[in-house]
């Protein structure tokens, strides 16, 4: 009984907090903060894509950044060629999704085991990194868009309202768009996971052979999950290319792909809100640590605290060893334990004659 109610309460809470955050932040925060928060929201959508694929689908994808990067590059290239953003946005979702579907088809229908799946996806994103990295000359262009190699593509034109080239989305608009998209993605995935499809992919994660023996084809369900994850990551990439008006090959790099996994590990697999919290928390921490850097003193401690990758590495190791299930599932366990303890005490208080 309380499980269902708690679930509903959580949903309402996320909705209310999300909407308040979305509509009030631009009125109270300065533009720098709004800009910073926008990228957190965009990355949180990326975190949700892996939360679905890995946390619920059980597919360990080390290369979610491949779809993120493809989305960003697709948007940039299409924008330079078309100048109006409606179709580029659609392409930035469809192309990564199609790529995920193709890659997923060979992996799942080829019955690649979990470990190799991780290796393959990581390799794919690193191949993309290297390929795009080496396209620096003017001979590398797609239509009017120069790929720019390791320099990346600067000056990407901003989004506009659908089919209205004149109405560009400004920085504040980007915040609303990104936060709104994050909320929609969150609730959309909640709906998906509550559906028959969602139950089946969780069943496959729990016991693939049993799902198969009940008549469900795990390959098809994994492929669908992987493709949806690719589409979401591509969409996040599209927003990201907009946010900085810039995209470079590092978007495919090891640091980026590892980060997405860390968000999900810290926040907790098997939840959606966890990876969002993990993503925002870690990005905030990285920014805070990075801010120490220029003024950093010369003594040992300030040098250590200015070293963001080191601190993040320590956090990751601490989580894997001490909170392996992640923040949100562990917090839920603690809450359930406390509640049960209180209920037991109450019962004992009501029926003292039963105590011997």
């Amino acid at each position: 009984m309380s499980g269902r109610n708690l679930n509903l309460l959580g949903l309402v809470l996320v909705g209310v907090v999300g909407l308040i955050f979305m509509f009030f932040t631009p009125h109270f925060a300065d533009l720098d903060t709004v800009l910073e928060l926008t990228v957190y929201m965009i990355m949180a959508i990326l975190a949700l894509s892996l939360a679905l694929v890995w946390g619920y689908g059980g597919i360990l994808c080390f290369g979610q950044s491949a779809f993120f990067g493809l989305g960003a590059y697709t948007y940039a290239i299409a924008m330079f060629n078309m100048g109006e953003s409606t179709l580029p946005v659609v392409l930035a979702v469809i192309l990564p999704a199609a790529f995920a579907a193709l890659l997923g088809y060979f992996m799942f229908y080829g019955r690649i085991s979990d470990v190799y799946l991780g290796v393959i996806t990581l390799t794919v994103t690193l191949i993309l990194f290297n390929s795009v990295n080496s396209t620096a000359g003017p001979e590398f262009h797609i239509g009017a868009a120069r790929l720019g190699g390791f320099n990346g593509i600067p000056g990407i034109p901003p989004l506009n309202w659908p089919f209205n080239k004149g109405a560009a989305v400004d920085l504040e608009g980007m915040f609303y768009l990104s936060t709104g998209s994050l909320l929609l993605t969150y609730f959309g995935l909640r709906l998906l996971l509550a559906s028959q499809f969602g139950r089946i992919i969780v069943g496959i994660r729990e016991n693939e052979r049993r799902a198969e023996l009940l008549g469900y084809d795990p390959r098809a369900y994994k492929l669908a999950t992987f493709t949806i994850g690719g589409a979401l990551a591509g969409f996040a990439g599209c927003l990201f290319a907009n946010w900085g008006a810039f995209v470079s090959p590092t978007i495919f790099g090891l640091a980026q792909s590892a980060q997405i996994i860390i968000w999900v590990i810290v926040g907790g697999r098997g939840t959606l809100i966890g990876p969002v919290i993990g993503c925002i928390g870690i990005q905030w921490l990285s920014a805070a640590l990075g801010a120490n850097q220029p003024s950093g003193g010369s003594d040992l401690w300030s040098k250590i605290f200015a070293n963001a990758p080191l601190i993040l590495g320590v956090i990751l190791i601490a989580f894997v060893l001490l909170v392996p299930r992640g923040l949100v599932p562990t917090a839920a366990d603690v809450a359930a334990f406390v509640l049960r303890g209180r209920r037991r005490r109450e019962q004992r208080g009501l029926e003292p004659q039963q105590a011997e």
Binding site: R199, G203, E206, N207, R209, E212, L213, Y216, D217
Partner: protein, 240 residues
């Protein structure tokens, strides 16, 4: 004779040089209950895996109502109407009992009808009181019933049970035997079991596997008297 429900023709499975199953010709009639016995390594579980699409046979055919399913995928075999309870309970450990059964029942039904069928199945396997408990936390015998509930919920025409009474208390074994007899009123079954008490409770015809082949096939009474079977398998147990 009516056409059989299940038939295998010189079914063989070789792993490298090892012949786990060789040249098995096996026939099961519609609605039949057959027991499969044999020592460890006789090939019973490998045989089951070939019947359910989990292993592709090296040679030979599996025919289900005349249709060749020897190269079909496990999920396709399941959709044709063969359900299996594996030797080690294969269930969704992280989900509740109700979610487990729901996942199975919802392949064929939807909405309120599924929920009603799930409730009925929970009653039938005697786990209605534990419906919201996580399956991974249940006792071994209860997990066996959850798996049985999963299999029954997909409404198969043929049910394979691999050691359904393993690890059960005497009382639980009795209950499982009752359940097997009840299932057999509408469905065909093949039961692999080591527990001879259990076999005696349910068996009509028994097939004895030895070293990957069928040694003998007969009624339970004749099997118990067969000296060959005693030698390879039953040993002192049969005398008890």
């Amino acid at each position: 004779m009516a056409s059989p429900l299940l038939e295998t023709r010189s079914l063989s499975m070789h792993f490298g040089g090892v012949r786990a199953v060789s040249d098995v010709n096996f026939t099961l009639a519609e609605g039949e209950l057959r027991c499969l016995i044999g020592p460890n390594g006789a090939g019973k579980s490998t045989f089951f895996k070939m019947l359910t699409g989990q292993l592709e046979p090296s040679h030979g055919q599996v025919l289900f109502r005349g249709q060749d399913i020897s190269r079909a995928h496990a999920h396709e075999v399941a959709r044709l109407g063969i359900g299996i309870k594996t030797q080690v309970p294969s269930v969704f450990d992280g989900l509740s009992v109700r979610e487990n059964i729901h996942l199975a029942a919802s392949r064929l039904h939807s909405g309120a009808r599924t929920r009603r069928l799930v409730d009925e199945m929970l009653e039938r396997i005697g786990l209605a009181h534990a419906a919201d408990r996580v399956v991974g936390q249940l006792a071994h015998g209860q997990r066996q019933w959850v798996e049985l509930g999963l299999v029954l919920s997909t409404d198969p025409q043929l049910i394979l049970l691999d050691e359904p009474a393993a690890g059960m208390t005497h009382e639980e074994v009795q209950k499982t035997a009752d359940l097997v007899r009840e299932i057999n009123r509408t469905k065909a079954l093949i039961v692999v079991e080591h527990d001879m008490q259990f076999i005696r409770m349910i068996a009509k015809r028994v097939t004895v596997f030895n070293r990957g082949s069928i040694l003998v096939e007969d009624t339970i009474e004749n099997i118990m008297r067969n000296p060959l079977v005693r030698d390879i398998y039953l040993g002192k147990q049969a005398a008890a």
